[in-house]
Symmetry: C2
Subunit: 105 residues, 2 copies
């Protein structure tokens, strides 16, 4: 379980990744864990929140678009994305969004 991410004052960026899995989840959990660890080590990574309940929602937070583009182009991440499209994901949607305002307690 991920906690609520501690992000800086806006503006920053969110990548909202929502997905539905196929029935072939062989290797998926290990790869997802590996990618979370690898993402967290990238320049500009600010935090991540993730939950799956039928639909999976992973929101990662980034300092700027350059950090997001670098992560998308990361070689190991590219391999994982390829396997995701081929095996694990029945469907997915990625949305790149600029966080303009936040509040909470």
């Amino acid at each position: 379980m991920t906690p609520i991410a501690s992000t800086p004052k806006p503006p920053y960026y969110a990548v909202i990744f929502t997905s539905l899995l196929t029935e072939d989840n062989n290797g998926y959990g290990d790869m997802a864990d590996k990618m979370l660890t690898l993402a967290a080590a990238q320049p500009g990574f600010l935090g991540v929140e993730s939950a799956r309940e039928g639909i999976g929602i992973t929101v990662s937070y980034w300092a700027d678009l350059e950090a997001i583009n670098n992560w998308k182009a990361n070689a190991e991440h590219g391999e994982a994305q390829k396997l995701g499209r081929e095996k694990w994901y029945a469907s997915f949607k990625t949305r790149i969004a600029k966080v303009e305002r936040d509040y909470g307690f």
Copy 2:
């Protein structure tokens, strides 16, 4: 379970609401369902995705900031927010973000 939301071509807005619940979940499920139904009836509502796995993540999509502000100010929603702060949520964060780009399959 919510499916992946069918949203229009960007730009549009996302409200990323992440929360951790207290142990007092009395009435929470019914209220959450009621608020999803009510939100879906608001002008400018585009879709919603929601999952809870320890952390709860609900992303609602809206045509513009005015639609988001109107929903925040909705009287029934205001009552639900008050109960949420008093009873159900140990912590939460709301982030308002402008979706600039999306892709998927």
